[in-house]
Symmetry: D2
Subunit: 499 residues, 4 copies
């Protein structure tokens, strides 16, 4: 019921492919994210893909050579560290010059065929990790989890979804990493939610049999059903949000009794829909849908990484409209979606958990400030009209036992408040809004803020919260230390209504 | 009824004494002011006072000399121009080394006795203006009004309130200014609201008789009654706000028929109370009280300058508390008071006036965007409970005649919304709030924002506004150009409530 | 000999392909460029290429449609205008969905085949220009030159280098532009230096015969010979720099007597080598080689646009090393090359040309400040040792005729000073320098600065400049107005050497 | 000979009075200082003086009360912590409302008479420290040394220089501080260099006898003789710089054998001249004069604090000219004086001392980078012509024993280089330079930078440095790791001089 809130919810955040991190919009969004939320790590695809220019074969003196170039890698990671975030390194996909076939994934053509040369791949991994250690120092790089590939159980991400081939790749990669320094952390296999229950046990068996290093286990979580397509978009059904918690718990269940049982588990991607063109990501519904997951996920895993922080993302091509169903907590140009606020609210909570419920989480920080996160119930089918007027009643401790007053500040997003998608719809869905419209959208994206005071009796304050449709609300309660001077007489203030 | 809104309302803004402009808090506030409102000129006392170090007598070779030093003057004006604002120069008070007595005004001791040497005063004026012209160029400085002294009709500001002595000072000063360049603008006499009706005509008579140059006429406006003191503060009654408009109109009435009749009139200071420690300045009441004045003042005068933009102000000593009844639109550390928002709202209006009323002003800008400023009625005695539920019903033109939809965004401050004073009171009136409290106050200072759509018929949209207690509201209405794609089906969006 | 310096030298600057403008490094470099030089326009390839996502065919209701999306275009141009620079619009290349073949140019695959549908191309052009006018206003967009395609005389840029096909494309495009607004400026044909002398006359004949609008004529200038390849680089010979001036003059010569004779001529690209991997671009030699061209080009054409401002450029793939022979005035991460300083020096000159010579240019600004740009002679074959000790002796006017002193500040880049390439070589050519090395390179990239005083007699000061190898130097001469106080005695200053 | 360089040289820096810290120029300078040098603490006078408004007596209900207001104190300290520096708190002078007389010091009138009420003084101290602990936390404030008064041995700073009265004040203050928290550090007595040798022993005797807490001992160091006045300035003789080291050592000598013998010793002010209007502070001479002191002071004391970082300082009134002999490392508007560079050079050194000499200091950092600080000899009488051509020859270790190359970067200030005072003199000593002149001064203030390579043999590189007049130079030596590709042929580079 109580305990520590911990950092699992903000341990990691997903992002568009590596070379998008060179963009100003991406970095401006990341700066905002770090200022208002503060994630620890960022994970993304495409470190070895064409746009990063790392693996560079050339001919000289009649022979083939490979040069490893880190021009862009360094630009990205320098920017990350400057912004107070570290890379959660995903090694993949196959560089074009090292590919064994031409199957690609995404609009930006990540090659998903196994490397044509295990030796050259290992050299690439070793050169990359060595370079990072040289530039950033071994103490720093030991803190960066290194994950091998992405969703090898799906044939769109790994040719034929060949598990044995993945095992070979994993072994070559993990050994190359540990070659550089035994203290580096390597893991995988970044399974999709669709992987069969035997996948992880077979992986455990393989690495145990071959004594291959594994420092953590990773998988993904999504709840969406089949995509029904419209131009530049899809609609999908969703399973209940609790399904995500079930998915988060799967690795520990599946690995129970294996030698990997005690390892850290990272959910290196999760979201409702796995599509970057599903409008559900932009809605107030979405924040309320995910609120119980974000509030509880930390009990099950070491991290669960929202996929992704920004709509700067091109897996399905370049978005044709400001709102387009992207994964981002932020749109292009840093407009906050409701789910951004869910995270920003959590970032203002304390670390001590005082209470939990199906519609709320109560915490306290070191200064005695109590915070409540509460959320309205959600019908995951989307068929029912949203519930309005849901009430959450709580009694929370304020300061030392005694009587007095507490200052209560409440911030909310809901269908009515901080729902920038609705404002954009009201504006006529402008594909590329003008500067004045962007300003209006930024204003519409702000949560509603209210404040009042409540009496404190026996060290407790009563809160009675009524939630709007799909509301997620943060309530901050602080004891009032009254410094009103003795000569102050409110009645003498003009406009106060007189005596 | 209609016409141009013009710039009189933002032509000039008042500020604390000159050397306060060296402060970071002052400059940060000015930067914010310029970003969100954009005044043209800033006026303040103390150019020649001790803290600016301009007039510097010294002995050398057995004789007395005077050096004129502009170290700080240049720092201030460089900063102003960089921030896009120009000085409205007030010449005064008397430098300590040139004073004929030791009577001072304010905590910071501005000397209000006539210069001991008319020659040395003229040399000081000439040196100052020459320096400004050398540094900033004659074209620039010709745009800066130069005002002689401040409220010489009050004996706290001018020894014995001796009008003849002021006339002499004015003549010496105006001639020294014109000596540098005939195209410079000089004026006065910056009368207080208490000046008798004959003051200006006598001034007109004097300058006419002696052919002394005058390029503009200036006076001040305030509506407060006698101060009732409490420690570090006062309470005062107020006259109705319309009294200010009467005061604004006085110079033209009093000068009718004199040779000064056609001159520009600048109200170089106005506010409700003339005290920097009257809590009325901090209230929502204050914004509603001044709204009709700010909306209409431009019909009467060339400018009317709110006194002052920031609480960085020390006439009564250093404030002992964040809120202390200061004049500022902004507190220390840039917290927006309701009256700040009144100005910020006006800054978002168009220049074409479509309609006016006792509780509203309607404008349109070049892009066709219509804006409405509306305000709740105010009981200036402060005895009655504030009116709630006041309604303003308007029909406004939107785009070309036709049918469609308009996007309506509304921002409001009132007793309930954007009333940071009330939040600070709820917090227990912390004298020096902690960083987290300052953040909470900044949030509480934000106007409430709402948006919705309204139908447009025959090119007109109907607005029906209900105003809260002491509300000032800005409504922005823009025609919707619908880009919703033909395949969009709102019912397929999860959480929208289904079909 | 004398006259106005004008703005032709900074009218336009080249840049990497359009979507690179979304990068932070690109925008940081552009901001620096604007702060220290201040160009008017920026031109680049790839507006319609894959990475911009403008042309978006889709199927709906059983039919093919095209949506035009300006998500990224707006981000780029918003950033440009914010940085005080405007686009010099190049229309091209063919969007993948509108191409008639699959021939591409560059690593980033610009499609150079004619549009498969003239109608759809015209619709694309019209939609693009209409969108720009809607967003930025017609007054603004009328100031943006619009150029049709790039180097259609080369078969790498235009399939078969088919001039007739280009004429067709030009006509369709120019008419589509003028369809939107007759006041927009359209031109071409952006010829390469290799175009035969008859190309432009044939173009003139075509547009005259068909009455096709042309508002300006454009071509390019380069002086390099055949490329000799090494891995990730080339070496080339260069023609004398004066060859560029000959190329600049070609359009007016070739069009003399045609109806296009009086049109503005823009050199929309020029440089020494046309290769982005020729180390000559990084050298001190390069600044001295181009100095006479940049100083004189404005006599011949309306603009000549250095290709390009930044090494953020990927035509040959992603650079493998910080210095790699890129076109940029700035490397990745904003390190100034010597040629950057050539432009920065020119940006500090006045507009009145006082004197010119084969090794110098003398100007004066409105404040009377005289500036001299001087440069050492260059052996374009690169075979001779660089000349050291070249002397430039000049007599320049300072202030009103009389005697006195002038303050002389001199900034220089040469083989010895401000030669960051040499510093990087000394460091061992680090491919991806560490932060501390980047700082050291930034310091090494600073010009050498010296100052001294010279006597002024009869209003003239004599300058005797000795130039180091490949030096380009800027000398600023200002009259001294002495404010040293009468009591100052230098001999009493400790360390001055005593009496 | 060797050891750790430590932080004593940058433990603390002096500053103008407390309320000047509210100025933008002050804070901009502090930001620059922290970016380029990085001090730990800042110390200044005037915490309780009029301009800070802390001690606020008032009458209410017929009685006298005192309110303690921290409006400005919090603004200043918030800014410090944000800039990464902490206050070294000096408690003084006497608030006007608590003074026993009207003797003041400085243009800004610090009252130097004992408090009229020991109780009210103790309450003031207790309230202040309690407020700081409440706002910043006890862990933070325990790190701030708290010093009682300033130079009580001088009658200009402490009425009659009455040591017994100081002892009483010290006791009351120290007890009040420890009342708040026993872990806070309190100390004194901040003696002037002129205090007699018995002062400290008497102080030790007093605190021992009365068991008064003392956590550290402080005094000051200056070397200037009698002031010879000119208008707005003075000239003074100086003792040899080594005199400062003698002064630094005095407290430990004088306290040997007393119970205070083992306490930390802080030199809370030092400089050459103690006058803020002595031009020596602005000179290149000054940096060379102080170099051996700054390089060696850390052997003698726990800190020695240069007085002061900025010319924003008004003890003698407002400066009449940009250069005026102020203490500042920086002038108004952030122009670096040579002594600034002395500190900036030291900030780039490593912590391991490899060698020391009368004209040099050699260190190494954790990355193996070796740095040399060297300085030219100085004639402290100022009568001899400055020595030019002084040579320093050193052999320094580079990387692992072996052969190779080292990159050597050298930065210098001297009479010729980075001597902005000389440039300002050349400009005619403009009192308030125009923006363009300020830019030119900033350029002239930059150190000269050179770089070259030297061979490394047996792990050693030889440096042979020739120093200009009054030069202070920093040499940074790093081993070259050569990444030049095998195909690179320098002779093929154009302009390199050919084969």
């Amino acid at each position: 019921m109580t305990g520590r809130l911990g950092d699992a919810w903000r341990y990691c955040i997903g992002a568009g492919r590596f070379d998008l991190a060179l963009r100003r919009d991406y970095q401006d969004s990341l700066a905002l994210l770090q200022r208002e939320i503060g994630f620890r790590y960022v994970r993304q695809h495409g470190l070895f893909s064409d746009g990063m220019g790392v693996h560079r074969p050339y001919d000289h003196g009649g022979a083939r050579h490979v040069l490893h170039a880190f021009t862009y890698v360094d630009q990205v990671i320098d920017a990350y560290l400057e912004l107070g975030i570290r890379p959660f390194v995903e090694l993949g996909f196959t560089p074009p010059g090292l590919a064994s076939g031409d199957q690609t994934v995404f609009w930006w053509r990540g090659n998903v065929t196994p490397p044509s040369s295990r030796t050259e791949w290992a050299a690439l991994v070793r050169a990359t990790v060595t370079h990072l250690v040289d530039r950033y120092g071994i103490d720093e790089v030991r803190r960066w989890p290194i994950e091998v590939w992405n969703e090898p159980d799906l044939d769109v991400f790994w040719q034929h979804a060949d598990q044995d081939a993945y095992h070979e790749l994993y072994e070559a990669t993990a050994l190359a990493v540990k070659d550089v320094d035994a203290g580096l952390q390597v893991g995988g296999p970044a399974l999709s939610p669709g992987a069969d229950d035997g996948w992880l046990p077979r992986f455990a068996e393989f690495v145990t049999a071959r004594d291959v290093p594994v420092d953590f286990v990773s998988r993904h979580g999504y709840t969406s059903g089949t995509a029904q397509h419209v131009p530049f978009g899809v609609h999908q059904t969703l399973a209940p949000a609790a399904t995500l918690l079930t998915q988060f718990g799967a690795p520990r269940r599946q690995l129970a009794g294996t030698p990997l049982a005690g390892l850290p588990v990272h959910i290196t991607e999760f979201n409702s829909s796995y599509r970057p063109d599903n409008p559900v990501h932009d809605t107030a519904f979405h924040a309320a849908y995910l609120a119980p997951v974000v509030a509880a996920g930390g009990d099950l895993v070491d991290s669960f990484s929202y996929w992704t922080f920004s709509d700067v993302f091109e897996e399905n091509g370049i978005p044709v409209s400001l709102f387009h169903g992207g994964f981002g907590l932020l749109t292009h140009r840093q407009i906050r979606k409701p789910t951004f606020h869910l995270y920003a609210f959590l970032a203002r909570m304390g670390d001590e958990v005082l209470a939990r419920g199906e519609d709320h989480l109560v915490t306290r920080d070191g200064d005695g400030r109590v915070t409540v996160l509460a959320w309205a119930p959600v019908d995951h089918t989307g068929l029912a009209a949203p519930v309005t007027g849901h009430r959450v009643r709580l009694s929370v401790p304020v300061g030392p036992p005694g009587t007095g007053t507490a200052y209560v500040a409440r911030s909310s997003v809901s269908e009515e408040a901080g729902n920038v998608w609705a404002a954009w719809r009201d504006m006529g869905s402008p594909r590329s809004p003008r500067p004045r419209q962007l300003d209006a959208l930024r204003e519409a994206a702000e949560p509603a803020r209210r404040h009042h005071t409540v009496p404190v009796a026996a060290g407790l304050a009563c809160l009675d919260l009524t939630l709007a449709a799909h509301e997620v609300t943060l309530v901050e309660v602080t004891a009032v230390h009254d410094e009103t001077p003795p000569w102050w007489d409110e009645d003498r203030l003009l406009g106060a209504g007189g005596p």
